[in-house]
């Protein structure tokens, strides 16, 4: 394949959904079916183009395959300023795999939405907003795809922010609901905190090397600019600072501790949006970013922080997931937890496993979310699992897809999640063995999370699909959606099988095309550490596999005991924990309380109030009113003159006849309508130009 063709395809991939966004926004409501086929078709074409790029990469079969092209966007060199922004497209194995995954998931999610966003008679459930829903979906996907093909942090950051906007629009899609409106603002503001860090990191990076391009960054790393002592600040090397600041962006976008609060609330959006945000796009973008800047993180020794935050998030989100009764909330916390795994994997240096889990998780999580959407649709928008039960027979496609995806996320053999999670756990175990001490906490967190994941995911399956129906009215009416709703589920469930990612028959062998093609950037400066990290995985491999199988089996078994066979009453299981544990979990560890009551009300509000007082007392009273006093004195004098000289003498003298006639006719113009004034001004200006054209031009 011609390289220039690939570049053209890569540019078209985000442009097609972007075009769909504009079409949908402009004329969406007037198109047949409100234009859902425009968005869906555009992303499907992008998917076809992505397969072309993927097959080119597959044909090359080289871990360091790169097709890149860049253009100069801004160059102030001629003005003597060292400011030059190059932007471009970079296709390598990472972006080729990512493009395929994003376009595939997004296509299926669009297709699913054409069913989910309609009511049971096939009418759009939200009237004309059906068209805007698809326009937002298109914009969201376009931004994600633009982010993936970016060869530089600048366009990546722009797409990143567009995604922030779209998440706001989509999470708050049911805007009549107060909770949805709040959730959208929360998501936007919380990610903004992380984005500030990312932006500062980018500024520091540009100040240091004068470029945003990944190639230039890697080259500068190799040249030692990042580690040069004269570029360090307060004892931290430039690489450490920039790496940490960029990681802040990931913490916000991928909802890691301590900025995780927005993601569970994001469940207020329609379910296909949750699937898109939690699987293919938004949260994946954060992990994709740190995978891209992995060399900076490694050179700057930021990886232990990354690992700590990832490991902590994985465990603490998994604990929260156990007590949720809303089917989507369980999945939300499981996303947090799995993202923690990806970040943890990168933190212990396993580049490949982190990206592997990103891809496998995207597929099975998109499947899980759409399955939950299908359940919610079947139950007429009932989301509480306590009202479900026994649905397996009613909606078999959904049940089997969800069952397979659950096995995948629980880490059962024969499914994709087993392979990627096993690689991560092997690395974590090797890391713990090598470093000892506190790093064992990571190991414990990794394995406990694996067990808990199996437990709460099967709790979801048992509560939803098995047992007796709790709401007979909804149960009797429950039925599968049309083909556009079950086809995406079945496809994604099929893609959760192990063989897709390895090409091997052996389900325990993670080594395959994926692990061969996805390798850390080949930089001499990284060579040592990458070799060391590979050792970790190698050492931990066998014990980690056995241990992860054991914990997953235990998790599933306990889940079956409690929620499947009901041998142990769930209340008894809950009773063994002290009260404060329940209180902490029910209040989400008091994070929302802390941010709103303490950080904002006690920290930011007094600050804001202080400036309000300054504004009121100093600026308004002191300056404005002070001037007013001076003016008042002057006014008194002038009034006197006005009264005696002007009014008495001139006005009264000339009489009221002519002025009052003129006044009442001009009064019509002065009607208080700003637009009328402006029209008069514009017309007057045009007439002025017309008559003075000889003089002026």
């Amino acid at each position: 394949m011609e390289q220039s063709n690939l570049i053209t395809y890569a540019i078209l991939i985000p442009l097609l959904p972007l075009a769909a966004y504009f079409i949908q926004s402009a004329v969406g409501t007037r198109l047949p079916r409100m234009g859902d086929w425009v968005s869906t078709g555009a992303i499907f074409l992008s998917f076809l183009l992505a397969t072309q790029i993927f097959s080119a990469m597959w044909g090359a079969h080289d871990p360091s395959w790169v097709v890149a092209k860049s253009w100069t966007w801004v160059d102030l060199g001629s003005a003597g300023l060292p400011v030059k922004f190059d932007i471009g497209v970079r296709l390598d194995n990472l972006s080729a795999v990512m493009l395929l995954m994003v376009t595939l998931c997004a296509t299926l999610i669009h297709l699913f939405s054409t069913g989910y966003m309609r009511d049971h008679h096939g009418h759009p459930a939200d009237g004309y907003r059906y068209a805007s829903f698809f326009s937002y979906l298109s914009l969201f996907t376009a931004a994600m795809l633009g982010l993936v093909i970016s060869d530089n942090l600048l366009t990546l950051f722009m797409c990143w922010e567009v995604m922030g906007l779209c998440s706001y629009l989509l999470i708050g899609f049911y805007r009549h609901k107060h909770s949805a409106a709040n959730a959208s603002i929360k998501a936007f503001m919380t990610t903004r905190v992380g984005d500030t860090g990312l932006f500062l990191g980018m500024l520091a990076l540009f100040a240091l090397i004068g470029s945003f391009q990944f190639e230039e960054i890697y080259k500068a790393l190799q040249d030692g600019i990042f580690t040069d002592p004269k570029n360090s600040l307060l004892g931290f090397s430039a690489a450490a600072m920039i790496g940490f600041l960029i990681f802040c962006g990931t913490v916000g976008k991928s909802a890691q501790f301590p900025l995780q609060v927005w993601l569970p609330d994001a469940m207020e959006g329609p379910t296909p949006v949750s699937a898109l945000i939690h699987a293919a796009t938004m949260v994946a973008a954060g992990v994709y970013l740190i995978i891209r800047v992995f060399p900076i993180l490694d050179v700057g020794n930021v990886l232990p922080i990354v690992a700590g935050i990832g490991g902590f998030t994985a465990l603490f989100a998994a604990i929260l997931a156990i007590k949720q009764n809303d089917i989507k909330k369980v999945l939300a916390y499981s996303t947090l937890s799995q993202l923690g795994y990806m970040v943890l994997a990168l933190g212990v240096g396993n580049f490949t496993a982190s990206f592997f889990h990103l891809i496998t998780h995207a597929v099975f999580k998109a499947c899980l979310f759409m399955c939950s959407g299908s359940v919610i649709y079947a139950m007429h928008h009932e989301q509480d699992m306590r009202h479900m039960g026994g649905l397996a027979k009613k909606i078999p496609f959904t049940f089997w897809s969800m069952f397979i995806a659950t096995l995948a996320i629980a880490g059962a053999p024969f499914f994709s999640g087993f392979l990627s999670k096993d690689m991560i756990l092997a690395s974590v175990l090797g890391y713990g063995q090598h470093h000892g001490g506190l790093s064992w906490l990571l190991v414990v967190s990794g394995f406990v999370t694996a067990g808990l994941t199996a437990f709460y995911m099967f709790r979801l399956v048992f509560m939803t699909f098995f047992g007796h129906p709790h709401d007979h009215h909804h149960y009797d009416e429950a039925h599968e959606g049309g083909w556009n709703m079950w086809f995406p589920l079945v496809t994604l469930a099929g893609l959760s099988l192990w063989v897709v990612y390895t090409g091997h028959v052996n389900p325990f062998q993670a080594q395959g095309w994926f692990t061969q093609l996805i390798q850390p950037p080949k930089l001499p400066i990284l060579a040592e550490s990458v070799k060391e990290y590979a050792e970790f995985e190698h050492h931990g491999h066998v014990p980690a596999m056995i241990a992860s199988l054991v914990v997953a089996t235990l998790g599933i078994f306990f889940s079956w005991l409690v929620f499947g066979a009901k041998k142990i009453p769930a209340a008894k299981l809950a009773g063994i924990w002290p009260n404060f544990v329940h209180k902490a979990i029910d209040n989400l560890y008091f994070f929302d309380w802390f941010y709103i009551k303490v950080a904002i009300q006690k920290g930011l509000m007094p600050f804001a109030k202080f400036w309000t007082i300054v504004d009121d007392k100093v600026v308004d009273r002191g300056m404005v009113d002070g001037l007013g006093d001076v003016a008042n004195v002057a006014k008194g004098t002038i009034n006197l003159i006005d009264d005696v000289v002007v009014d008495r003498t001139f006005v009264d003298g000339f009489g009221g006849g002519i002025p009052s006639a003129l006044g009442s006719s001009l009064k019509v113009l002065q009607n208080g309508q700003v637009q009328r004034y402006l029209s008069v001004a514009v017309v007057a200006l045009m007439l002025l130009f017309f008559f003075l054209r000889g003089v002026l031009f």
Binding site: L76, L666, K667, G672, Q673, Q675, L678
Partner: protein
């Protein structure tokens, strides 16, 4: 084709004029204050495009001054500030009278 475009100043000025005219039209006809401000943004950006175009096409561009570009950067920043202030006003107007139709805000009539 693209090379031909980039040598023709008239096209840029035409586009800028079109932006400006659409902006004026929007400001004059919208019955929603937010739409009105969008029109103002269009006008501002039409003007900014003019600056950039003249800077790019003026003879002897290779000296070290970038007045046009810098001016348009100022316009962008001012437009952002204007939008923030304007939206705050719109919010206050809405809070006071539950509508943001500019035709209904006629306290200042003679």
């Amino acid at each position: 084709m693209l090379a031909g475009l980039s040598t023709n100043l008239g096209l840029y000025l035409g586009l800028s004029a079109v932006f400006f005219a659409f902006g004026v039209l929007t400001v004059l006809t919208r019955k929603n204050a937010v739409g009105l401000f969008m029109g103002v943004e269009l006008m501002l950006n039409g003007a900014a495009l003019n600056f950039v175009a003249f800077q790019t096409f003026r003879p002897g561009t290779h000296d070290s001054w970038l007045h046009g570009h810098v001016f348009s950067l100022f316009i962008i920043i001012l437009a952002a500030i204007e939008a923030a202030v304007a939206l705050a006003i719109v919010l206050r107007v809405f809070a006071a009278r539950r509508t943001i139709d500019p035709d209904r805000a006629t306290e200042l009539r003679g």
